[in-house]
Subunit: 245 residues, 2 copies
DNA sequence: CGGCAGTTTGACTAAATTCAATTGCAGTGG
DNA sequence: CCACTGCAATTGAATTTAGTCAAACTGCCG
């Protein structure tokens, strides 16, 4: 089993130089790790959580509930992400969190986090930066779902997930776990399920990628990037070279 | 002329209890105020700003540049907002900022802000909270532009702007300044200009609102809210009663 | 074997985009 | 004062696109 502390430190270290004292502070936090079943909603819209979640392994989604009973997926999170940093400062959750496939999530009491923030301001700033990263990804989602045609929209999502997974070292060869259904893809990209299927079929036919058995396979990165009009600048990743192929 | 310090303090005080020392620290910051012409881009995508902006008066927009040459507007900001808190931690702007009508914007050196954050952690947390608010608004925009039909989408935007403007005391009677063109509305909501016009005409005909001479007029708030499927929970405003009518 | 959930496909419908043309208005220069 | 220009708003018609609806197919589990 992966260590919650380690994935968090690995993620924060991507952009912030943490001192030994910062690391000690992080390691001293109480992480309560828990396995989450596929499609389990482990934080609900309306909750007033006392803990922050950390994705240790697997994939976690954030979503709005719609009046119609459906969902709008807002973002996906992978190992090292803090998917509900929102909850630190804002009383009531305006969205829910669920697992896509099996996931392992660690919970940290807000109280402890705030204490750590006071003692180690650099730690606070690094988590703040994480939340800004988040916002940047939301912005790109607005543009993606509003301004790009269906095929580009879908390709862009795959590019983003692949790129981020790569930074988190979750890629094996040219594939990684993405246990998402067509319905969920539709509720992410704002398209009807029939359109999702047809668009995905087109992408597959194009030969740049495939999605099978809950795995995304990127066959031609450059091509997929072109189709998705994807420029990774908004992810603000440092020292990252583009995938080969 | 309004004081930059005051609008910032008013805004932060909405959600955070700032002590006298916090206020002193804020008042000691160097604000360089500047008038911005309508549609002037005062921060560009790709810039590496050394200052943070604060909207003192008027309205400011954030946007992505599209490959096609068009824009995707991401959010609108009013008096008291910090529209590029993003830039505090992230090297390069992934979006630009422009004024809608005439606006007055104050700039604060990042260096000073960071010093103030170290000295007054509560101030830092209040600005952090602002950035989370921002993210919450982005999330709602994803849902709005992805999951709501055209008329609801437009009504929702008007509801949000009206509600926020009201919290910032920018409403005179039932109207407030919203100097936005149809093209910009389309680039916000992800619709073609013809559709914008027709949808807006429908809304006007419905009698719940009007948009004239750069002013939004809300005639039937409840009706507009219903049409826009608008629930203000995501704005996380405290002590706010809904508008009458 | 029979359900069940997720996927795939086709035919039809509804909706928004595109394109083109017109109007209204403010500013410019003769 | 008036023509002329440019920009934003408006409208209509044709086209394209995605959504809806329904049906079949798949693999999996009991």
């Amino acid at each position: 089993m992966e260590k919650a502390h380690d994935v968090l430190i690995r993620n924060l270290s991507e952009h912030t130089a943490l001192t030994g004292e910062d690391l000690d502070e992080i390691r001293a936090l109480t992480f309560t790790q828990r396995d989450v079943a596929p499609n389990e909603d482990f934080i609900r819209q309306g909750d007033e959580p006392e803990h922050s979640a950390l994705v240790v392994s697997g994939m976690v989604a954030r979503y709005h509930l719609l009046g119609s009973g459906g969902r709008q997926y807002l973002a996906f999170h992978i190992s090292g992400d803090l998917p509900d940093s929102q909850g630190l400062f804002i009383d009531q959750m305006d969205h829910g969190l669920s697992a896509l496939g099996h996931a392992s999530v660690a919970f940290i009491p807000h109280r402890e986090l705030f204490t750590a923030f006071r003692r180690r301001p650099t730690f606070a700033l690094s988590v703040w930066r994480e939340t800004l990263l988040d916002a940047s990804i939301f912005r790109e989602a607005i543009t993606n779902n509003s301004a790009r045609p269906m095929q580009a929209r879908m390709a862009h999502l795959f590019c983003e997930l692949f790129y981020r997974a790569r930074a988190a070292q979750l890629i094996r060869g040219n594939r990684f776990r993405l246990p998402i259904s067509l319905v969920q893809l539709g509720e992410t990209l704002g398209m009807a399920i029939a359109t999702v299927n047809r668009t995905l079929a087109d992408l597959r036919r194009g030969g740049a990628m495939d999605l099978r058995d809950g795995e995304l396979i990127v066959l031609k990165w450059r091509e997929l990037q072109r189709l998705g009009d994807f420029s990774p600048a908004y992810l603000h990743l440092k020292r990252q070279s583009p995938p080969e192929t």
